[in-house]
Symmetry: none
Subunit: 127 residues, 4 copies
Amino acid sequence: MFQIDPLSRIPVYEQIIIQAENMVIHSVLKPGDPLPSVRSLSVRLSINPNTIQKAYTELDRRGLLVSISGKGCFVRENLAEFFFLKRARQKKQFEDLVHALKNGGMPLSLLEDSLHQIYEEEEAQAI
Amino acid sequence: MFQIDPLSRIPVYEQIIIQAENMVIHSVLKPGDPLPSVRSLSVRLSINPNTIQKAYTELDRRGLLVSISGKGCFVRENLAEFFFLKRARQKKQFEDLVHALKNGGMPLSLLEDSLHQIYEEEEAQAI
Amino acid sequence: MFQIDPLSRIPVYEQIIIQAENMVIHSVLKPGDPLPSVRSLSVRLSINPNTIQKAYTELDRRGLLVSISGKGCFVRENLAEFFFLKRARQKKQFEDLVHALKNGGMPLSLLEDSLHQIYEEEEAQAI
Amino acid sequence: MFQIDPLSRIPVYEQIIIQAENMVIHSVLKPGDPLPSVRSLSVRLSINPNTIQKAYTELDRRGLLVSISGKGCFVRENLAEFFFLKRARQKKQFEDLVHALKNGGMPLSLLEDSLHQIYEEEEAQAI
DNA sequence: GTGGTCTAGACCACC
DNA sequence: GTGGTCTAGACCACC
């Protein structure tokens, strides 16, 4: 649970966000579950507490968790808004790229093939 | 031909690269055509010559143009390698995003719908 | 580590590229190792930071290092692509020259002799 | 006889040198044969006479032709020195590259294969 | 005139 | 602190 690559091009706080989201999506973390405290996680990962705090604040804003003062952070009971917003963000990202590729001369058939090939792969890749 | 938005988040040299690529893709620039000289373009766009130079150097590297010292820059006669590499870059970009979206729980059908909708739009966007 | 000859006909940024590549090839620099920061190296070599930056950018592009904004530059963990591309570049260079020499009337046997003589020399040359 | 590509990366005067040398090597021009006059060639190729002169001067220096004042340029009767110097230049070029490739980790066997493959090709390439 | 290299130094985002 | 971008302007080789 939470493994950080300090040399990755992805900022540390984003790695935490991505991993927390994936754990919720794949039900490793369920509604109501507590997240590690900022302090304990910062010690365990040898990371500045501010970085953890930044990730948790963003996850709160995105509707994935609730931060209860003096108690800690917990996965939201009602994740509907989170999934709604996430899907919207993902779709916009996809549409922006497809517009760019179409404009760049990429034929539709190649994208369709790629899409199907990726979705037909077994979920072999770990997080 | 070449319009720069200095307030864009896209670096100026990338704007030049994108526009040059689009002009070649849409045959506004044809093989053998000269590009504006580094100096003349820098004056016209009020941009430092080094920035133009950086864009042209990258376009040379990508196989879109040949830069002949003392003569100028010209669209490559044989653009095969350019189109091959460009397609490979585009495909990798698409696959990386689709992997991420699949991993993030995005259903295939939504991506298919988006894809078809975008490719059925008339080419209304200008360069 | 990194010695520049400012009077050489080889551009400074290329000297840096060549030396970095050689240090990786001869395991003086190993995967994951940090390279000197742009600023520290520019001070030590009395060279403009832009020149170092240009070399590092090219080495990133060639797949020899990863440049992580705000962290530094590190030798790539997976150098497979770097070695693959390097070999391809080397081979093309060799073939182009041999074609020219053959065309210029050079007999095969002379090239074979040269080749073997050079490869039989002990590795006396230092980096 | 003499075809110039003004957009080539190879300077015009070098193109003339290369073509003149190849014509001698392949006996299109034989000892004693006259070369086109500077003026006639400059008109025919639409090139500055200085450029032609520069090429002829260099060919004289290399021992390929003799320039007889008031008469014109002719292929040298005794081409021994020319071929000796040319071979030396070629060999040095080859050795420098092979040293660099060896230093860059290129295995001998790959170079041997390339060499033989190129020399076994039929002379299909035109000048 | 042309592109190629380099310096000196600014400002940005990210940490 | 780090790398990434950009400006202003110099000097070079080649033509």
